[in-house]
């Protein structure tokens, strides 16, 4: 049976079930573990706010959410997962931002029969050999942005790339992903210290190289520091990056230095798909700031959950899993479906940093990789 017929069957079955289930809808309890304090709190807050907004708009009062702060510490996250599973007895978990925290939490909660919906992290292990029927990634596999950026750069005529990332697994994956998509020559591959704040040495190397494109993956504060220093250095190699370094939450801190930079994302606030403009407007109105990709991911995660709980009872694990897999919701990113390893098949777009009035933000350029599916799915046996 191919995917579409399966999806249709499930959706139809789901609709019947939903009619039955609404009468005796069991309460669904969701545990959200995310980063709400400390340095990386901005991302967690966006995911949470997006998630809660979608839930509120759905008008469902039978979904209860318990929110916990992991402080970006893996051991705290594991402990909170134990708490949510053992003492709160939640049905579904979600919320984790960082890959290393996801690796610490996801295998154990899915092994305990709970569902996990990832609103952000997508480590390759969980997409490949470590995939699990109860694990669904609603955001992207970690490689997606990097590979799409590589493909875009190659198609755009770049021949020689300078690549830069922190020396840790996600950084190494980023460079591997970019190289896979790019396929061209690599001028230099530089690994920096995690949390590094001064990039003068690396920028000098970039200027001394003969690269015609610079790709860097430096999430959070690292990217802010890099971009500010890079734009003041007189270096002229054009920059391309993943959205993590150019998203709404940090563009304000980079300012004009980021203007013109191309970056890949699965979503953009000016993406013309049903529901997106409403999402951007309602988020801005409710929270007083523009939504980021993280907010969009949180929003989509809640939409998926709402759609699945409407179609199946969460206590019936097989039916609920099928309802999740069907992904019967209108994502703010447009077309969305799950591959067999429960990771998205979606278009990755290229965006460009621009200024709208006083606000530095992103504008959509066009697709960088259409119907992207990650390469790890072949290793996934389930």
């Amino acid at each position: 049976m191919n995917f579409k017929t399966l999806a249709k069957t499930v959706a139809m079955g789901g609709a019947v079930c939903a009619a039955l289930a609404t009468a005796a809808a069991a309460e669904v309890k969701v545990g959200m573990i995310t980063t709400l304090s400390g340095g990386g709190a901005g991302l967690g807050i966006d995911v949470r706010d997006g998630f809660l907004l979608a839930l509120e708009q759905s008008g469902r009062d039978d979904i209860e959410v318990v929110i916990e702060d992991d402080q970006r510490k893996p051991d705290v996250a594991v402990q909170l997962a134990d708490k949510l599973v053992q003492s709160e007895k939640v049905d579904v978990l979600t919320g984790i931002i960082w890959s290393n925290l996801a690796m610490a939490v996801v295998p154990s909660v899915t092994a305990q029969g709970k569902f996990y919906l990832s609103p952000n992290a997508g480590p390759s292990q969980l997409a490949g050999r470590g995939c699990h029927p109860n694990y669904f990634n609603v955001a992207w596999q970690n490689d997606a942005y990097h590979e799409a950026a590589g493909a875009y750069a190659a198609a755009d005529g770049s021949k020689k790339a300078f690549v830069l990332a922190p020396n840790y697994p996600a950084g190494q994956d980023a460079i591997t992903g970019f190289k896979r998509g790019f396929g061209g020559e690599i001028a230099a591959e530089v690994y920096t210290k995690l949390g590094q704040t001064d990039y003068a040495a690396e920028i000098a190397q970039i200027r001394a190289s003969d690269a015609d494109i610079l790709y860097y993956f430096l999430p959070g504060g690292m990217g802010i520091s890099f971009m500010k220093q890079y734009s003041g250095s007189g270096a002229e190699v054009p920059v391309i990056g993943p959205a993590f370094s150019f998203d709404q939450g940090i563009l304000g801190a980079i300012g004009d230095a980021a203007l013109g930079v191309k970056n890949t994302a699965h979503w953009s606030k000016d993406l013309d798909v049903p529901g997106n403009a409403e999402f951007v407007a309602s988020f801005s109105e409710k929270y007083g700031r523009l939504p980021s990709i993280y907010a969009a991911q949180g929003f989509d995660t809640a939409l998926l959950l709402v759609s699945a709980t409407a179609a199946a009872d969460v206590t019936d694990a097989d039916a609920f899993r099928a309802a999740l897999k069907a992904a019967d919701f209108q994502s703010v990113r447009g077309a969305f479906k799950f591959a067999d390893n429960h990771h998205p098949i979606q278009t990755i777009y290229m965006r460009e940093v621009i200024k709208e009035g006083d606000v530095v933000t992103n504008r959509l350029v066009g697709p960088a990789a259409e119907d992207y599916a990650d390469p790890y799915g072949v290793d996934c046996k389930m």
Partner: protein, 306 residues
């Protein structure tokens, strides 16, 4: 690798070292005069950066931002000295470590409470933006050059303050014999508050200056704090001269290590493995440097007997 690149990297190392000196000078002064370990020094750096970003955003003037950073950090320093630090001078190091550790928690979360969880915007002033051409064809960011100059001026001013002024005499006397200067009628409480606020202002200045080319965010102080500690331990705790030498050593080791270690490993390893190993080793380089210095001279390069 060209000579120009090497020269540029040396300049980068110097610039990093000079900024580190601003942090380390306050830390080492406070230890030298009051015998206090201040883990919260990084928080004052953060306070400086946030004050600068907030004022620069409100007024549009980077210079006013710097003034605000100096004033804000000095005020925060004086405040915690009066309320908390003052009670710690006659305690052992353990209590000092713990109390200032508590201050870090309060400052970090307090800043997040006031300014929110997202990084703030602070940019290089337009007059100092862009690169400048130096002799031998070196293109160097003007702002970084300005940082080196400002840092050197502040360092010179600090040496002058300590060597030539009345307050400098008191500070030096305080380092040698605390009871004695109290007996000589110096208002020791005021001296301590002044020294602490001075150290805080230097940290705040560093935070604002560096904040313009880095990210102004909660938690930005801790990595710098640890580097500043490494610096003063290498230089010898309590010695301003040691702090300067130590800062330059750390700055150069950190910058040159991250560039040249991977190159070095490429001579006898596969390129991918070499970049990995080189990057790993360079992230540990300054700690290895510190351990070696301490094994050779247990009280640092210019330290008095501990």
């Amino acid at each position: 690798m060209s000579l120009i690149l090497i020269a540029e990297q040396v300049l980068n190392g110097l610039q990093f070292g000079i900024m580190l000196f601003l942090m380390a000078a306050g830390l080492t002064l406070i230890f030298g005069v009051m015998g206090l370990i201040n883990l919260a020094h990084g928080s004052l750096y953060m306070v400086g950066a946030f004050c600068a970003a907030a004022v620069a955003a409100a007024t549009g003037s980077f210079a006013l931002g710097l003034v605000a950073a100096l004033a804000g950090a000095a005020a925060a320093g004086a405040l915690i000295e009066l309320v908390v630090i003052r009670r710690l001078y006659d305690r052992d190091h353990l209590d000092q470590v713990l109390a200032t550790f508590a201050l870090i928690l309060i400052f970090s979360e307090g800043t997040r409470w006031v300014f929110g969880s997202f990084p703030l915007y602070l940019d290089v002033p337009p007059a100092l933006a862009g690169p400048v051409a130096l002799p031998f064809g070196i293109q160097y960011p003007l702002y970084r050059l300005a940082l080196i100059v400002i840092g050197l001026v502040v360092a010179a001013g600090l040496f002058w303050l300590i060597a030539r002024t009345r307050i400098g005499v008191q500070i030096r006397a305080g380092e040698n014999d605390r009871e004695m200067i109290a007996a000589l009628g110096v208002d020791i409480d005021r001296l301590y508050t002044f020294v602490f606020a001075l150290g805080a202002a230097l940290a705040g200045l560093a935070g604002a200056l560096v904040g313009a080319i880095q990210s102004v965010q909660v938690g930005m102080g801790e990595p710098v704090l640890i580097l500043a500690f490494v610096t003063i331990v290498i230089g010898g705790i309590g010695s301003i001269k040691g702090a300067l030498i130590g800062a330059l050593l750390v700055g150069l080791t950190e910058t040159l290590g991250s560039v040249f270690l991977p190159e070095l490993f490429k001579l006898f390893m596969a390129p991918a493995a070499a970049t990995q190993t080189g990057a790993s080793l360079s992230s540990m380089a300054i700690y290895i440097l510190m351990a070696m210095v301490l094994i050779w001279r247990p009280t640092g390069l210019f330290g008095a007997r501990a």
